[in-house]
């Protein structure tokens, strides 16, 4: 088949100038066969299983990267939620499991490992509570381990006991990593309706409905979408939507090709492709810039929620057309610290926590990588989580909170995490107390699925 030179140059341009990349090839590995009452035996089992399964992952992924000339930024591993796999361990402290995961990740040369997780949307088992209470120590003593806790679903409602607990877990996690601006919290996500096949961190885990081993691919490209919009001459919003859709289609095709070839060479099932516009701190690789290219003076101005809704929906439509394996989160991410345009918007006073919360009702995830004052009470963090969970539960979508109460920092300061995690100005939270509400505990019941007005 003849290939058009203009199409070739377009692809080259996307990679060279517009930061098109495969953000991650994530291998999901089931650890359900590793359980053992003795935590040391369990740790040996999971180390063995992870390093055996992922032995060739990085090598093969690098081969594919050079074969196609498309950068693959991260190689990652996700595992069965540790609370499930380690349920039978007699030990009360699960931090050693996180250390083992960290070693397995380092020895497999991957960038991150996700799955230090618990699913407690209706209630917590003994193992779930052991895991959650081990999170602060686990994230302080490891580099590559990511943790997530699902506290709500549309079918079960919101577990407010878990929401209340997570506020203080986040505070402790920040305190134990206070020498690094509370970076532990950048590796901890609280979810509603968490997807089981998401390849993106910090929320990736290998869900219990997943196969033994699977390859999931995350593709990104806010820079490509932004460039495509900027090329249009005085477009209306229908034309913008059409352009985003077409661009998303192309990016998704690239991810599908890479995913299938990696899984073929590894002899591992191909799971899903997640097309998520995930910004990086690099200039031009920003979701905020896309919203501004649509005509907003700054991200956060009135109209931002509408613009984001258009973007998120068009990305999904283009992706769904391009591949039958689209899954995970698929949409637009709005992590503040990882997006140069978002950071600028916060600094300029255009973007507030309240506006971000509204935006999460139409984007693919939630309040992401937001730094708040270190003296924010745990109950306020829990209340922020509760609000976000409510948006997810009622709208039948995934929402998440990844928030950093930066130790010793206040308004006017900023935190610096480096790399893909970026830096963030501290954002103000409401000074009014939510403590009594959060302390009530119990469950917010599952919402009615009819009378939807």
């Amino acid at each position: 088949m003849h290939i058009n030179p203009n199409e070739i140059l377009e692809t080259i341009q996307m990679v060279r100038m517009e930061h098109l990349d495969i953000r991650t090839v994530t291998m999901g590995i089931s650890l359900r066969d590793c359980s053992h009452p003795d935590i040391e035996v369990f740790n040996e089992n999971i180390y063995e299983k992870i390093t055996t399964r992922a032995k060739e992952l990085v090598h093969v992924t690098n081969e594919i990267q050079s074969l196609y000339g498309i950068p693959i930024i991260n190689k990652r591993i996700s595992v069965t939620p540790i609370a499930v796999a380690a349920e039978s361990c007699k030990s009360h402290d699960f931090a050693s499991i996180a250390k083992t995961m960290d070693e397995a990740a380092k020895d497999s040369q991957v960038d991150f490992i996700g799955g230090f997780s618990a699913l407690v949307h209706k209630g917590a088992t003994v193992g779930d509570l052991k895991l959650i209470n081990s999170i602060p120590e686990a994230l302080a003593c490891t580099e590559k381990v990511c943790s997530s806790v699902n506290v709500a679903t549309t079918k079960t409602g919101i577990n407010m006991d878990a929401v209340g607990l997570m506020g203080s877990i986040i505070k402790k996690t920040a305190d134990l990593t206070s020498d690094r601006d509370g970076i532990g919290c950048a590796k901890l996500v609280v979810f509603a309706n968490a997807p089981e096949d998401n390849p993106f961190m910090a929320g990736a885990f290998h869900g219990i409905g997943e196969p033994e081993c699977v390859i999931n691919v995350g593709v990104s490209g806010p820079g490509v979408v932004n460039a495509a919009i900027c090329e249009l001459e005085n477009p209306n919003l229908t034309e913008i939507s059409e352009t985003i859709k077409k661009t998303a289609f192309k990016i998704t095709r690239m991810g599908e090709m890479v995913g299938r070839e990696v899984s073929r060479r590894l002899g591992v099932e191909f799971g899903i492709l997640d097309l998520s516009l995930a910004p990086t701190p690099a200039i031009g690789d920003s979701v905020a810039a896309i919203l501004e290219a649509m005509g907003l003076e700054r991200c956060g101005a009135h109209g931002t929620t509408a613009a984001l809704a258009l973007l998120n929906d068009a990305v999904k439509k283009g992706g769904a057309m391009a591949s039958s394996s689209v899954g995970g989160l698929s949409g637009a991410f709005i992590p503040v610290s990882e997006d140069a345009g978002m950071i600028e918007a916060v600094r300029a006073g255009a973007l507030s926590l309240e506006k971000l919360e509204a935006m999460t009702s139409v984007c693919s995830v939630g309040l992401d990588m937001i730094a708040v004052p270190g003296n924010t009470p745990a109950s306020t963090l829990s209340a922020i989580i509760a609000d976000e969970m409510a948006i997810g539960v009622i709208n039948k979508k995934t929402t998440a909170v990844r928030i950093i109460p930066a130790p010793g920092k206040g308004i006017g300061d900023s935190v610096e995490f480096g790399g893909l995690l970026g830096n963030a100005p501290i954002m103000p939270v409401s000074g009014f107390s939510s403590e009594v509400f959060v302390k009530r505990g119990g469950r917010i019941p599952a919402p009615i699925q009819s009378l939807t007005n």
């Binding site: 088949m1 290939i3 058009n4 030179p5 199409e7 070739i8 140059l9 377009e10 692809t11 080259i12 050079s66 074969l67 196609y68 000339g69 498309i70 192309k250 095709r253 690239m254 599908e256 090709m257 070839e261 391009a322």
Partner: protein, 92 residues
């Protein structure tokens, strides 16, 4: 990935001998040119080749390194990518 065909792109400022030098490297790896096109886009020299690598004893990474080293000495960027990277993106 059924074929062993690659798209080779050469991008940079024009000068004497680019095609000669790049194709010499290709010949030394027994890589055949199936199609070739070149244009000047906004003053930038752009050459695109569809090339076929031998089925056996072909070391892709050595070829890529040799091509990119030749590009460096010519002051141009040379990329060797499997044709599927382009077919997949633009065609269903």
């Amino acid at each position: 990935m059924a074929s062993s065909r690659f798209i080779i792109t050469v991008i940079g400022s024009d000068r004497v001998g680019i095609v000669a030098k790049v194709t010499t490297v290709m010949a030394s790896f027994n890589v055949n040119i199936v199609d070739i096109t070149q244009t000047i886009m906004q003053g930038i020299f752009t050459m695109i080749m569809l090339a076929e690598a031998p089925q056996e004893n072909f070391d892709l990474s050595a070829f890529q390194e040799a091509m990119s080293a030749e590009g460096k000495s010519l002051g141009v960027e040379v990329k060797v990518q499997h044709e599927d990277a382009f077919r997949f993106m633009h065609r269903v």
